[in-house]
């Protein structure tokens, strides 16, 4: 690595040169430059950008749902049931109760995002904490934490969800909780495996030799390194999470009618699939597209976030 700034950057507009510099002048500068350079690398992957844009669209659709949606998703028009796509102003047709499929799809985006966000926050965080503590402490603590992890891993999602429903009542929040509680163990395992590797690195030995305690090492040194694998794993799990919510919705344990949750829409439309394919298929396609987008995003993130070590 040379000491002088890369010559080609001298012709760029001010802010780009600032972000591409290899001599940052402050902590914030360093962080932003690093993020920007990661972004550039991410951008060079067309499939990942495609996934990212779809998810961006999802977020925007969910945010502006009331403005975009042509109809109210809950208004029933029994005279207009099961109209095929393209008929009378219903671009994607209507469902069994005459509700506009497109509008329900748009409002359903909010619910999908809600599920995905909650699970994406709860499961990896719990897994990160459990896994890193187990991996770093080793011995007795490791054994106990990992057995707890195994116990949760053994729980079938639906059985746990049933238990929750029995205790707390049906609803999307409880379904999300049930999904999170069965989703965290794999993250704990990933975090633990990473911690076991990282634990023996020289930079960890070095900071121990400065007198750092376990908590500092775990939070400031190990977590930043585990977070990338967890982020990647979360995006790849998204498809499964959305479908799990759908499955719970099918059992009546998750989103309650008339909520336009995509999974519930799919299961509602099962009855009509032969003659009125669009009621189940269209939300199914939406789930597919969003899951694919998350997968592509995850792949792209993995290329960017893997630690840049030994750069010769």
């Amino acid at each position: 690595m040379s000491d002088s700034p890369i010559a080609s950057h001298q012709n760029l507009p001010g802010w780009r040169a600032w972000l591409l510099t290899d001599t940052p002048t402050s902590r914030r500068h360093a962080k932003m430059a690093s993020l920007y350079q990661n972004w550039l690398q991410f951008q060079s992957n067309p499939m990942a950008m495609f996934g990212f844009l779809i998810l961006l669209a999802l977020v925007l659709i969910a945010a502006f749902a009331p403005l975009i949606s042509p109809y109210d998703p809950f208004v029933q028009e029994l005279g207009n049931r099961l109209k095929p796509p393209g008929v009378e102003g219903h671009i994607l047709g209507t469902d069994s109760l005459g509700r506009d499929v497109l509008s329900r799809l748009i409002y359903g985006a909010r619910i999908t995002l809600y599920i995905v966000t909650l699970v994406a926050i709860i499961a990896p965080l719990v897994g990160l904490f459990v896994g890193t503590v187990a991996g770093f402490a080793g011995g007795f603590i490791d054994v106990i934490l990992m057995r707890i992890t195994d116990i949760f891993l053994a729980f079938p999602r639906l059985v746990l969800a049933l238990a929750f429903v029995a205790a707390l009542g049906a609803g999307i929040e409880n379904a999300v909780l049930a999904i999170s509680l069965t989703a965290w163990p794999p993250y704990a395992r990933i975090a633990r495996a990473e911690t076991l590797t990282i634990r023996n690195s020289d930079y960890i030995h070095a900071v121990r030799l400065q007198g750092a305690g376990a908590m500092r090492i775990i939070t400031k040194h190990i977590w930043p390194l585990c977070i990338s694998s967890l982020i990647i794993r979360v995006t790849l799990d998204m498809a499964g999470i959305i479908l799990a919510a759908a499955g719970l919705g099918f059992l009546g344990l998750g989103a309650q009618p008339p909520s336009p949750e995509w999974g519930a829409m799919v299961s509602d439309g099962r009855k009509f699939i032969l003659d009125h394919w669009w009621v189940a298929t269209i939300p199914g396609i939406a789930i597919f597209i969003v899951s694919l987008a998350f997968n592509l995003l995850g792949d792209g993130l993995r290329d960017v976030l893997d630690p840049k070590e030994s750069g010769q």
Binding site: P24, A206, P307, E309, S310
Partner: protein, 256 residues
Amino acid sequence: MSGIVLKDLNVWFGNGLARVDAVKNASFSVPLGESFGLVGESGSGKSTILRAITGLAETWSGFIEIDGNSLGRKRDEQFYKTVQMVFQDPYASLHPRHTIDQVLSETLSLHGFSDIEARIEKLLQDVGLGPAFRFRYPHQLSGGQRQRVAIARALAPEPQILLLDEPTSALDVSVQAEILNLLTDLRAKRGLTFLMVSHDLSVVSHMCSRMAVMQNGNIVELLSVEDMRAQKANHAYTQHLLKSSLGYTPSETTSG
């Protein structure tokens, strides 16, 4: 005044049938202010001795004394202020997600210093890195630059003793010269004591005044660098090492 004293140090891994003795009955002492070398090939136990001193070895027996204090299982703040270590692989000794600034300021705050800004600037200057490097990440630095940061980190608590684990073996020859010169300068300026581990006899001879030659966990010979240069080595293994480091000479093909 005593710096490092080792008596009958044994370090092993595993127990029972699976026990591997990495260091057997090692004894030597390094007075304060001296530069002492530990030479040997891979598996000789030289790096393990450093680990035992820093408390990173689980199972050991014998006697280790640093600056008059005998060491037990744990190390304390006083130890970390007295003894610091520079690791071998510059590509592995810095946290990949922390800037140089973060590395140094964390070290300084762990040791309780308050004038962190000034100290960081001075440390970077002392190791020959300008302020431009302060907020870089390790992957933006060359091997030699990273090693300088590692040295700066080791010097932050103002230790008396530096343990150096093959500090230049992963570096190019020209960069090695810079780092060795830097270490020589720092030692002169700060009156440091060095315990340097290396497989390279010429590096150890350049940096140290006395050395211990290790083979398979045993110290086979203790000699001064003058004796080494004069090829006045007693033990056969030392002579063998000496011969091998003078370059390649066609010899009888030995079978293995």
